[in-house]
Every structure is written in structure tokens, then in C-alpha cells.
Symmetry: D2
Subunit: 367 residues, 4 copies
């Protein structure tokens, strides 16, 4: 009423939207029925990619600031969760594309040469903005991964690579987090003590276990020692550097501390939403790797596979990129360093107060 | 190689596709973040609707001919099954749209007035081509259901209403089916005998059942008689006419015969694919009604509900259309008239031969 | 190592689990292949129902206390969200059950008489513990809804009906919420003012709108007045009582206030998780109603439908229960009373402080 | 009525079913809330596995006969399609299991030692009956893959390994298929001619293409020759033997012929259902490999990953098995050998007649 009325058709620009499907097979006089499905699936992918970039950009805007206000964190969590829902949802589009048979694909695949999903600018931007680094990618034909994009798009990818990604921003945000150290309490020291205590107890249990023969006991103690050494690499800067070099962790040790703090004390009010954010990023990573895997399976189904030597096939290439491409692998690897709830260091009251809501502190100070 | 090369970006017309999202909230200077989600969900719906129309039109082309060759039936089954997969898939888009909260919707809903999903031309065409009749629709404001479409679109809907729908074509195809009657065998007579025999046996079982007291026995016998009367309406033209008038069946009695024949003898080679087609049309109908129901739930969630008298709310309107809108209800209702496999009339050898493959007949005639 | 070792097979009690599928069709010497599917679908439903009750009970334990500590709210949100995920997931089991055809169902359905999904004790308990009241249910054969359960189960349903449900606990929790009123600020007064202001401005816009003719203007103003009257029923105790009687709201006016406060100020740290809880309960309600609807569609497909008078069919019964059974309808209806973000009353600093984290207040008091 | 009445609760053996969840954490006095979820997810998996075995066994029963009647093929297709639906569906259970956090898993994972999904007898049987061979599996600790099962189960796996699998039965069924050769027509000869003709035309196109420079032309011609050599391995028994040895094809050359015949002439009535069967087996294979992949991702998420040398982690092991485990890889690889529809050899009329329905032949012989 206040604004000029608009029709559904115009609002959604259906004229241009529904005229953007041009079948090459028709252009070349050999109409292939299933080409529209191929176009529809890729176009809906691109619309969803645009949506994901829109959400990611808004999240990055929050994190680009030096100080993330907590009022914005609910929105950040909701928007990343929406991205995760979308990634999960569009996995299903591959099922629909696979209702096309390889023989039907043959009807038009020659017309598409050399168009390829590798040329999706938006998908490259999503990966880049989330934080995938060029050296995590497989080198394809010795060219940068964006070599097949259009000129202007290449520039934009290069610029995006230079700006901090969501991963980078999370790293800073974790490093800034003010909870792991105060005058009376060092989370890192207490955690280290707890780890040592845990291994001490475990060794005693093994030593005292009468069900074990001497050889078994020896073997189990060695395993325990191996496990302890893994933990040790957290505390020794030289060893941690090696974890960074091996790409086991891309996060700095300070960021790892805060992340571990969140995982262990996620029930504290001030950590509940941050914990959700970490979980959601893992969900997104899983969906992305699953999508790559499904894509590789589909390529195998549609094109088969070349034999023996003479150039790796599309399928092999895709299959080999899957695991390397995990962006938030750090959070997966962090599970290695969790300790049981009962062993967690107790948080001192002044730290707890910081993590509670104002009204909780009010109430307790009144009483 | 044989054809001029093309880039992914140009092939998918991403320039026009990705510039078709114009947020009204930005146009009016009050950017609402979630408006893009609203647009994306509706635009991907429209792309999928176009795909469904493409498949439906190709199926209608097969059925528009006087004689459907069996070589085409595999394709028909596959394409309808693809439609069903798409309908099932896009149900999930509502989950994604519901990540938008009612408060966020408020940020831009005034800008959209009076745009509405009722104005989707393609959805109206899908319903019409499948076979939804105007009198199955609720009358909204005393206007034809297509009154809100654009002028040219209204003409096209009217034309589509005059052409035979998929439902109509199935009716003709079922009527033409040459299996229910030959020189020595009338399926309809044998089926009627089988039904009578079935009820006779059931009555005897009840009469002889010593666990039943006299009252119970009487009541059960009455129920059986009621059930038998339902079957009787199939065999009495006057009663069947009433079924047509009550919209219990839209199919003619001859089409119902063939449909029942397919359901009962679906294992005969010549009926296997036809049986799949009937199942898939029921799947599509279920998805369509579920989609309407989900849509009604979402409207309730987003807009709430007006109170008391004074105009039905969007939610109430939508909820009341759901069941009326079933297109292939006949096939659901047909389950009423199934009889157990063991009671099915035996098909005579000459009829069986028609239903087998050439190579099966060859083999048996050779031996 | 510390505990006696256990084998997967024993841990999961697979002996008893996998011997709990007894086909009646086999017992009566007429093996029906698809009966196992029927059993599997219902048994997996029951396992998931047990899981949902386990989560619900743990959530109720938190809410049963007089004071819900905020440290527990993250867990509450996560467990309800898990319930929602499960409800959404098991919707898909109906698709699998529908791979059974009506003719195949006939092979064994007589053996099952009178077993029926209405006899699922666990499902009745889920509905009851969430908060479905007996008077929201359709009266079936003039008996209480639990009449078909076993004696002991009937007692437990009756007891559950007498204990506070999740709905009841939420009502208390919302009523207790200490944010809508303090010495200097009454949310309800400010909200009422904002509503009045909103309608005033809208009326002015209409009056000044030169695009409207006199009749249109009059009509629009009347609509506005109608909308305003709806809001009025919130503020007038007599009218609100009517909303309660009409089952428009089951919540008391104080609980409605707090719920509206959460919906409007959901970005405040102390409200973010509570807001998620409200959304998740709506998701659960949607899944439950969808499940009932799918179930009704399936019954129609499997059994067809009786004709004319003489007893409502299973399908009709199920279809009519759907909307009545919504448990958290209040939260859907609340959308009616949202106001745009820009019109929300400003929260005074002392109230804001209560809603922030301790560390935020610390930081600001230091500076 | 005819049969003793039964209650839902007894029919589903809910007493034993719902008492089969014994939490070890409770047994050892340290109740871990999320252990029930862990049990529920694994128990529902096992119920679905039992269902899948039930379907598979019924399909194997059909194929175990020397002659598969076509009346049974519709049922075979439907039951395999049901298996595929179930496999796709249960993929989603991992999403639900992942609502458990790694820290919560820690609460009870020590109690489970050494129980492991590797000990699922039913899953091993599914793999074995479908046709996974022991040499396709990774050797884990130098023991047979079934070493961790119970004694009696080990025997049954060994027996199943000796019986023909579904893969083996398909091989025989394809070999027996009577369509690729008759007195006047050899599909294999005609296909070979068509392949040669196709490469001849492609070479000419390249040679005449004035857009190509001499170097490019040379390179393209070499690529064509490479592609042709791949096809050649089909026709040369020595080369085909190598394909068998490299596990590129497990099928014999005669089975490959028939499979290719089905893929190319799938529209012939007698091939429509067989074609669906091949597609469905690929769907099943994709779901199984996806499931293994998701499982590996979940293990990474829950347990993290050991560092450096010293024993491969669960995740690494699982990730490496994924591709090797494809059972129906042959059908994927067959896509390599498809030729465009327009190049397919024409089928002679007598062969076509074998592939049509009796009633089609009747009609045409009458006219």
C-alpha cells in the first residue's frame, strides 16, 4: 500500500530467469531432452551459491571488526547454520542429476566442451572465503586453480585470497578470547596438569591390572606413552611448530587453547553460541567434502574411466582432492586432545562470573 | 572440438541469471538481509517448475498420439519418476525458507505487496496439465483461479484447460487397453464372480465362528454386507454414475476396469511399466498435497492468524484446499476394490501370451 | 581395558533385537514377503520414540526445577534440536513403507486385526509429555484416547496427564522470566504505545495517499481498524480471556508477554538460546503434524476409502485431527503480534546489563 | 476376525524390543545421557540391515534358478529399488548420531571397548551377498575380515563366500541372455564396426578442421587413437584378459556384451526392467560407498587423529577402503564404451520381435 504494487512475476524477474536456459543441442539442431535437466541443476546450484556467499559475506562483516559484539553472535550462528542447511540440501541435487543416464548425457556432452564445473567462479569464491588455501588444492596442469575463470573473475579470486578468510578471522577471534588466562588462573597450565594426572592414573590402572600378562602390560604401557607424547606436542613450542608445518593444525597455539576451552566448557553461557559456531563449521566442512565425493562418483558413472596409464581420469582427480580440501580440519583434529569432563580443571569464581549473564551475577550478588 | 567452444559461465547464462535478484528492500533504501533468501527459494522453485513442465510436456507428447508404442513407455516411466523425485526434493526448500524468522520477514514483506505465490503461472500450468479441474479448486474471491496471472498467461492457462490433460490421456489410454476382454474371457465378469465368492466365504466364516455371540455375529454380517454394497456400485451403471457425480471416480467404468486389471496383474511383463506409472502418479499427488500442507504451516508460522470472524486467513484457506486438490485420487480410491491375490481370476493362455515378451512365446512355441 | 571387554553383538543385544520380528503370515502358514517391512518400519519408529522420550524426560528434568540454570539451557536447546532432527528424519520412513503396494499389504493385513498404530503407548506419551491435552484430540468412539492401550500403560498415561507437561513448564518458565518489568520500565506499556503509534502512522499514510480513491481509502482504513482490534485483545483482560477460551492462546497473558519479549529482543545474549528453543518447538510441531498428514495419505493409498455415509474412514479421521493437534500453536499465533524491528521499544541500560554477559559488563564498567 | 486378535504391542514384540537397550555407563554407575542415542542408531541400523538381507535373499532366490521368469523381474526391480531407498535413507542416521559431541562420546566410549562396527555380522553378510570379494577388502591386521565376528557367524560368512553372490548370478544371467547373437545378426560384430566408423569420422573431422594448427591437429589425432585403443581391449581376448586381471572388469566378455546391449537398447520392452536393475545396483553401490565415507568423516570428528607415524588411525583406514569396495564397478566402467544413439547398430526385425510384447507382435502380424 505504501509502496508501488508489484507482481510475483516481475518481482522474481521471471522473464530473464526463465529465458536463461538455452540448450546447445537445440542450437545445433540435435535437441537432447535431458540437456535442460543438466542446465537446471547447475543453475539452481549457482543460485544457492550466491545465497551462500551472501550469508558468508554478512558473517565476515561481523568478524572483520576488531571486536565482535555478542548481540551479533546469535545472527552469526543462525546464518552459518543456514549455510549448513543449504549445503546439506543441495547434496540431494546430485540424485536428481543422476536420473539422467550416461547414454542420454552422450546426446549433448560434445556440445558443452570445454565448459566444466571447475569454471564456477562462485564455488571458488565460497572455498576461498571460507579459508581454503591454494596449497591445499591439487595442482591441475601446473596452473593456478582459478586459471579457467574469466579475466575479471580471476582478479577477484586473487583479491579474495589476499583478504582474511573466515578461517583467518576465527583464528584472530579465538586468540583475542579473554578467558584462558587471568591473574589467578592459567587454563593451559591446569589443562597440562590434568593431562599428566590422567596418564598417571591410567598407567597405575594398567600396572595394577592382574588380568594382564607381563607382555600385554608392557605393550599397553607403551601405547599409553605414545598417546601421552601426542599431547606433549601441544605444550612444547618446537613440537607444535611441527604440527603447523605438517598441516595438522593451521591455527596458532593460542587459538588452539581457546578452541579447546570452548569445547570443554561449552555449557558456560558465554560459550554456548561459540560452541554452536564451531560445530556448524564442521558440518559445513563435512557437507563440502561429501559433495566433492558424490561429484566424483557421478563423474565415474557418467563417463566411465580410462584404462591404465595415460592421464588421470576426472574421477581419480576428484577422488584425490577430497580429503585434502577440508578447511576446518583443525576442529576435527582437536578431538584428539579432549579430556573427560570429570578431569576438567575447575574454573575460579571470578572467571565463571565473566561467563555468566548479567542477571545471574546480579541475583547472586544480591543474595 | 567439432563445435565452437563455450565457457561454463556463458553456457549457463550466469550474467542474466545472477543479476535477476533485485531486493525491493534495497530499492527502497531499507536493506533486509533475508530478502535474498526469499527470492532464491522462489526462483529455484520456478526453475524446477520449468523442468517439471518440460518433462510433463514430453510425456504428454507420447500420450497425445492415438497409439502409445511400448518402446516409449520406459521413457515415460523414467520421466514421471524424475518429476516425482523433483517434487519430493523441493519439499525440502521450505525447511530452508523457515530459517527466516517471522520478525525478519517483517523487514520486507510490505515491499512485496501484492505479489503472492498464487501468481505463479508455471505452478498453475503444472496443476492444469496434470489434470486438476477448476471445479476442484476453492473459489477465491469469486474469480477464476488464474485471475491474478498476467493477461497472456491467462490465455495460455485457458488454452491448457481446453486441451486434454495427463489425467484425460490416461483415461483414454486405459480405455483402449486391449486386455480386459477377448472372445473367451471377460475380466469384468470373472472379477465380479470372484468378489461374490469372496463375500460368500467371508459370510460362512462368520456364521460358523463359534467365538462370536449372536449379536456380534449379526453386526459383523451387516458390516460384510455394507462392504459388498460398495463393490456393487462398480457393477451397476446407475450406481457407478453416482460415484462419478460424487467425484469418487473421475475415470469412466472402462478405464477403472483396466486400472484394476493393471493393479491385480502387475507382474505380467506387459503391465510392469504401466503399474510403475500409476504408482508414480500417486507419489506425485502425495508430494503435491504435502507441499500445499507445508506451505499452509509456513504461512501460519510467518504471519500468525487472524482471530474470530472477519475473513479467512491465508492459513485456513490453504489448509482447506489440500485434500480437494488431489488429482489422481481415483488410483487411491481403487484400493477399496482390490481382492487378495489368491482370489484373482486366472488369465487364459491366449491372453497370457499377449502379455509376455516375444522371446518367451518363441521359446514356449518351440518346445 | 579398565572394564570387562564387550562384543558389538552383545552390547547391542542383537540376539533379542533380531529375534523380535515374528511374521504372523508365517505363523498362519501364508508367508507374506512384505510383512517384515511393515514390522521393521514400526519397530524402528518405536526405537526412535524411546529415544525421543529419553531426551524429553531429560529436558523436563531441567524444567521441573524452580530455577533453570543458564548452564543447562545449551543442553536443553541441543536435546530439543536432536528431537526435531529425529522427527524430521523419521518422516522419511513413510516413503519406504509406501514401497509396499496395497495388493501386497492385503497379503497379511487380516492377520494384524485389530492391531493399530493408535495403540502405540510411546507415541501417546510423547504427545502427552509435550503437552497435548485430551480435549485437543478427536473423540474416537466416545472413549478416552488411551482406551486401546494395555492396562498398565493406561495408568501411566493418566499419571503423565496429571503431571506438568513441557508446555506447562514453559508457561511457568516464561511467567517467571524477570525481564519484562522493572522499576523504570514496563515492556508491556511500551509495547502497547508502540502498537498504537504504528497504527496511527499507518492510518495517516492511508489518509494522505492520493493514489487511493475515497472508497478504497475507507476500505483500507477499516482493515487497519480490524487489525488494531486484534492487538487490542492482548491488552484487555476480558478479551484475552476470550482468546484463552477459543484456544487461540493456551498461555497466560504473562507468559505471552515474555514470549513476545524473546521474539522481539532475541539478539540480546541472554535470549539467544531461549529463542532457539521456541523455534525448535515450532519445528517439532510442524514435523508432528506433517507426520500425521503423511500417515493419513498413506492410509488412503493402502486402504482406499469407503463410500457415502456409514462411518468415517480411517483417512477422514486422520485428516481431521491434523490441525487440532498442534501443541505449540501459541508460538505460531504470536506472529500476529510482532511489530517491525524499528518500532521496538528501546531497552533501558540497566535492563540491557542484565541481558549481557559478565565479561561484557566488566569491560564496559572498566572503561 | 478369522484369526486370533493381536495387540500392536505384542505384534511388535515391544517388550523385548524396548528392553534391549542396556547402557554400559549405567551398569558401571556413570550414566552417560548420550549412550542411548549411540545404541538407538546402531540398533535401527541392524533392523534395516535385516530388512535388506530379507530383500536380497528373495532376489537371490529368483536368480538362483536356471531360468529367471520375466514375471518375477518386476518384483526383483521393486525389491532392489526398495534396498536402494533404504540405503539412501539410513545415510541420514549419521547426521543424527553427529548431534552427539566428541566430549559427550568420551563419557562412555571406554565402556564399549573393544566393540566396533567392524563386528556387524549383518553388514558383512550384505557386502558378501552383493558380491564383495575378500581381495577387494583391505587387510586389517593380517586377519580375514570376519575374524572379529562370533564363531558361528564366521562359519556363515565363509559359507556365504562360497555360494554365488548377486554379482555372480548377474554374470550368469547376462551370459545366458539370448539377444546378442542369432543366425543373421552378431551384435558384437556390428558394434565393433560402429566403433571403427565412429573413430574414422572423428579423425576426418579433425583432419579437415581448418581452425586447428598442425601441432594441435597432431595432438588431437593422438588422443583419438588413444581412445580407440581403449575400445580395442574389448575385442582382443588377450587385452580383455588384462582388464579382468586389473579388476577393471570382473565380468566375462560375454556378460559385458549383454550388459552393453541392455544399456544401448534399453527402450526395447524386454530390456526396460533389466536396465532399471542395472541402474539400481549402481545406486546401491553409490550409497554404500557414501556411507563408508560419511562413517570415516564421523570417526575423524569424534576421535580426532593420531599424529605422524605409529599406526594408521581409524579414519585413515576407513578412507582408504572406500573406492576399493565398489561392488558393481563394472557397470560404472561400462560408460567408457557407450556410443551415441545415432551410431547404434540397427536391430533386425526378427530380433526386435523377440524384444516386443506378445500383443504388439499379434497386432503387427494381423495387419
Amino acid at each position: 500500500m505504501k509502496y508501488p504494487p508489484i507482481h510475483y512475476h516481475d518481482y522474481l524477474k521471471l522473464n530473464s530467469l526463465l529465458e536463461s536456459q538455452k540448450l546447445r543441442s537445440i542450437e545445433f539442431g540435435q535437441k537432447a531432452h535431458d540437456e535442460l535437466l543438466f542446465i537446471t541443476v547447475h543453475q539452481t546450484y549457482e543460485l544457492w551459491f550466491k545465497q551462500i556467499l551472501w550469508e558468508l559475506d554478512s558473517v565476515l562483516d561481523v568478524f572483520h571488526k576488531d571486536y565482535v559484539t555478542e548481540n551479533e553472535m546469535g545472527t552469526v550462528a543462525a546464518r552459518l547454520s543456514r549455510c549448513s542447511d543449504i549445503f546439506k540440501f543441495i547434496l540431494g541435487q546430485i540424485d536428481i542429476l543422476e536420473t539422467m543416464t550416461p547414454l542420454d548425457f552422450m546426446d549433448f556432452r560434445d556440445f558443452l566442451y570445454p565448459a566444466s564445473g571447475f569454471q564456477s567462479y562462485q564455488f571458488r569464491m565460497i572455498e576461498t572465503k571460507l579459508g581454503l588455501k591454494p596449497d591445499q588444492r591439487l595442482n591441475y596442469n601446473q596452473q593456478p586453480f582459478y586459471a579457467q575463470l574469466e579475466k575479471k573473475q580471476q582478479d577477484e579470486v586473487r583479491q579474495a585470497l589476499e583478504r582474511p578468510s573466515l578461517f583467518d578471522r576465527l583464528e584472530s577471534w579465538l586468540k583475542r578470547m579473554p578467558f584462558t588466562q587471568n591473574k589467578h588462573f592459567s587454563f593451559w597450565q591446569e589443562y597440562q596438569k590434568a593431562v599428566e594426572q590422567m596418564f598417571l592414573e591410567d598407567s597405575e590402572t594398567v600396572t595394577k591390572n592382574s588380568r594382564l600378562g607381563p607382555q600385554e602390560r608392557e605393550k599397553t604401557l607403551q601405547q599409553l606413552q605414545g598417546a601421552q607424547e601426542i599431547f606433549d606436542s601441544l605444550f612444547d613450542p618446537e613440537k607444535f611448530k611441527k604440527l603447523n608445518e605438517e598441516n595438522y593444525f593451521r591455527l596458532s597455539v593460542d587459538a588452539v587453547k581457546s578452541a579447546l576451552f570452548i569445547l570443554l566448557y561449552r555449557n558456560e553461557p558465554a560459550l554456548q553460541i561459540s560452541f554452536q559456531v564451531i560445530q556448524t563449521l564442521q558440518d559445513i566442512d563435512e557437507s563440502l567434502t561429501q559433495w566433492r565425493y558424490r561429484h566424483a562418483l557421478m563423474v565415474h558413472r557418467m563417463l566411465g574411466r580410462k584404462i591404465g596409464t595415460g592421464g588421470s581420469s576426472g574421477h581419480d582427480y576428484l577422488a584425490s582432492t577430497i580429503d585434502k580440501h577440508k578447511i576446518f580440519k583443525d576442529f576435527f583434529n582437536l578431538s584428539t586432545f579432549l579430556i573427560p569432563k570429570s578431569k576438567r580443571p575447575l574454573l575460579p569464581p571470578d572467571l565463571q562470573k565473566l561467563l555468566k549473564f548479567g542477571f545471574e551475577n546480579e541475583t547472586s550478588s544480591e543474595s
